[in-house]
Symmetry: C2
Subunit: 481 residues, 2 copies
């Protein structure tokens, strides 16, 4: 059908089911061990020789506060700005408040280039420097750039490989959707989460490596190595669990691994009526909840003020906005200044999971965040920052947080990972997958629902169903089969 | 799985494939002919005894202009308001302009209740009065009400049957998604398009009738009978074309009917890789196009001004905002006043279709409209109002409009239908399905793509893919098989 469907790319490449191909890639370690890959990242870190220094917001080169509104933006009008937002909602932190928020209308390409070597899918990953990373360099998608970047707004060098994602028909699309990012920090932000496959020769530069999913999954057991963008892009890949039932399992828990494989197999095709119910549940929640926002001048966000530490909340809660200057080799430009949002304390993003009839089900929760376009997205079972809740009575803490903190279930995954270092400063979250047993209530409040992993992957084909924390956790969960 | 999936409704009802059930309903005429149904609508019209009168906007009871902004809204702050919007886009009518727009944050339920009688799905339809209808009463969904209505903001009587759509688990969901409406007239509007099936006894009031899809399809061949909401809700139903290959065809053209049935069968399940390409094409268009809007006071929309005819454009283009008062029996309240948007002239919404390998493909076009939440939705091949283009050279008229006006193809459908009479005054569009032959170019500009009917139905499971004009046409197209 491609001849008359011109704008829709070419159909070249293997006709084998994508799920089976990703499963094979996840079972292949290729030549390098985790230790060798961590050594390579350390070498890239050394080569980059990055110097990252905190500076007052008023001293950021090229950035300034608007004399009228107090909004913080770049002199060129590009990249992003920090503005004020008034929020009214009936959910979670119900009520009306004002807060600073990052406004970035530019849609970034978060693109991973894939290619088969010896019949196994490999993914071209980049050791990328971001000023907000705790360890400067993390493993990132092939391309992670806004059009300001790849359109060279800051006069840097061209973004390698971007043409595979922007030229229609250049490569075969495996997955491609606009997705939201942190809704309390970003206003209406969305990025293109895309994976394409090529059969062309690709020039592999310094700081780039072809890795199998098996290698990437192994690196996901180590804190702060696989960056946020790589996690959420790769988490959208479908798996065919039945591809090789006799293959060894990655998890130490054989029973859980098998129940997880079955969960991957229960998606839209296996049970369309159930998917209709899930979509209807989301539609009803979207109809029911209120989220009204309006832009306000940053100077009229009265709970935040500008001081030597940056823009901070009067009780030291939520986040600060701080400034950094960066000097480095091998990035688009070798030195620049920018603001970063610095969250207060480490967050918790936890999925409670449970086996029903031998199939792992994941307990997701409706979330409403100020920056969402569609009012409601699905988040982890528990998503919160303990620091911001310390002043509240236990009754105001999120439902089921006690199950996570008491570790009364079986902890299958518990690793600290980083959020996007290009916008956030040392933003760390503890990601957990905790299995609960038969004593856990099966019937849950209307905000919650039990979904299979196959259903979560099906939802990720479309925008605005899973929030970024849930998408990250789907990627972590896929490492356990 | 329903026991542990509490919020997700009950799974009662037939386990037979929904597509097969809708196909059977479409092939069943039940007891009443088109003439009898039109007589019944005429009787309802007579009973309603509606008096609809144009009045100046300043004399609308309960409505007023804000002294500061000039925005027109209801004293209660509910229902909707008419505000100003500044628009900047790079698509179609590229450039920057200001216009009035309807702002209604309330999400309406557009709900059709279904039930099997003698093994055939029937749909409970309502003869509903709307003040903007050319013929006062049209065939509408079972429930067509905003929460202002069914929450009784105007102190009317309760909305019949609304509980089937609002109470979780009360009925079995067949389809349920939030969808946009006219993006040049509504800001970020979305309504819940939902069909549920019950096995309960349902009280059928005056003005309500159980109809088969076959009966509704027959009424769709008559102008201005099946209202906009009924068309877009019912158009989301899947069909199983192979259910009864020997059944008689509705269309007079056997070849076309068969090619259309095959097109219904080519959806997501039949070719997932093709659906990935389609989703990627939409994602790329969303990334590429610019749509920036900001609210402005209505009094600062300088091309429109208030006169005896209402709020009108200085060249008499696009639309007016007018006032009406209504007195009637049998609606929520028996008399009220409200503003309506009155478009200038009759619009054209046309789908060009073509057979490839015995399968009908539909040529859809990327549209960008000011009120869209996701920048881009898919529209008909040609969607425009000739009146608003009369002053422009032919080169500025939409691509392929000449194919429609010259009728160089085979016209399978050509009926004038109405848009929503609760917000628009005599808003008429000519809906066309025109089949083009082998001389038509297969390769089309990047804004266009050839999709099957099965793919269009699959996209309608989710929000913001198909615009309201395209969804209406999908419903019209389904009458032709």
């Amino acid at each position: 059908m491609t001849a008359f469907a011109c704008p829709l790319g070419n159909g070249s490449g293997s006709r084998e089911d994508l799920g089976a191909r990703t499963a094979r890639s996840a079972l292949t370690d290729s030549e390098s061990t985790v230790e060798e890959l961590l050594d390579w990242l350390a070498l890239c870190r050394e080569r980059a020789a990055a110097r990252i220094r905190r500076v007052p917001l008023g001293e950021l080169d090229g950035w300034g506060f608007d004399p009228e509104t107090g909004n913080l933006s770049h002199d060129s009008g590009r990249f992003f700005s920090v503005e004020g937002l008034e929020v009214h909602t009936d959910h979670h932190a119900r009520g009306t408040w004002r807060q600073p928020i990052i406004n970035q209308s530019d849609i970034a390409v978060l693109g991973v280039l894939a290619k088969e070597f010896d019949g196994v899918l490999h993914f071209l990953m980049q050791a990328k420097l971001e000023p907000g990373n705790v360890n400067a360099i993390q493993l990132s998608p092939t391309v992670q750039a806004t059009s300001s970047n790849y359109g060279r707004a800051h006069h840097g060098s061209a973004t390698p490989c971007v043409e595979y994602f922007t030229d229609p028909g250049r490569a075969r699309v495996l997955t491609d959707a606009l997705q939201s990012e942190q809704g309390t920090w970003f206003l209406h932000k969305r990025n293109r989460n895309v994976i394409v496959e090529t059969s062309e020769e690709v020039e592999v530069r310094d700081n780039f490596r072809w890795l199998t999913l098996g290698q990437i999954h192994a690196l996901l057991r180590v804190p702060n190595v696989v960056n946020m963008d790589a996690r959420t892009v790769l988490g959208a890949l479908p798996f065919a669990p039945a591809a090789n039932p006799s293959a060894r399992l990655r998890t130490t828990d054989e029973r859980f691994g098998r129940a997880l494989r079955r969960s991957l197999g229960v998606g839209e095709a296996a049970d369309p009526a159930r998917m209709t119910e899930i979509l209807s549940w989301i539609t009803r929640q979207r109809s029911r909840h209120v989220l009204v926002t309006r832009p306000v001048p940053l100077r009229e966000v009265h709970d935040w003020s500008l001081g030597p530490r940056g823009l901070t909340h009067r009780h030291g809660r939520y986040f600060d906005v701080v400034g950094v200057t960066v000097t480095a080799e091998g990035r688009e430009v070798s030195s620049w200044s920018q603001p970063l949002l610095r969250p207060c304390g480490t967050g918790v993003n936890a999925l409670l999971v449970r086996e029903f009839d031998g199939i792992v089900h994941v307990l997701v929760r409706i979330t409403v965040e100020p920056g969402y376009r569609e009012t409601v997205e699905l988040g982890p079972t528990v998503q919160f920052r303990p620091h911001d809740h310390a002043h509240l009575p236990a009754s105001r803490w999120p439902r089921f947080h006690d199950v996570v903190s008491s570790a009364s279930g079986t902890v299958h995954y518990d690793v600290v990972q980083s959020e996007e270092g290009g916008r956030f400063h040392h933003a760390l979250n503890r990601y957990l997958v905790v299995e609960v047993g038969a004593e856990f209530p099966t019937s849950v409040p209307e905000d919650f629902a039990w979904l299979t992993l196959g259903q979560l992957v099906a939802l990720q084909r479309h925008s605005n169903y899973l929030n970024i924390e849930a998408r990250s956790l789907v990627c972590c969960l896929q490492t356990l089969w």
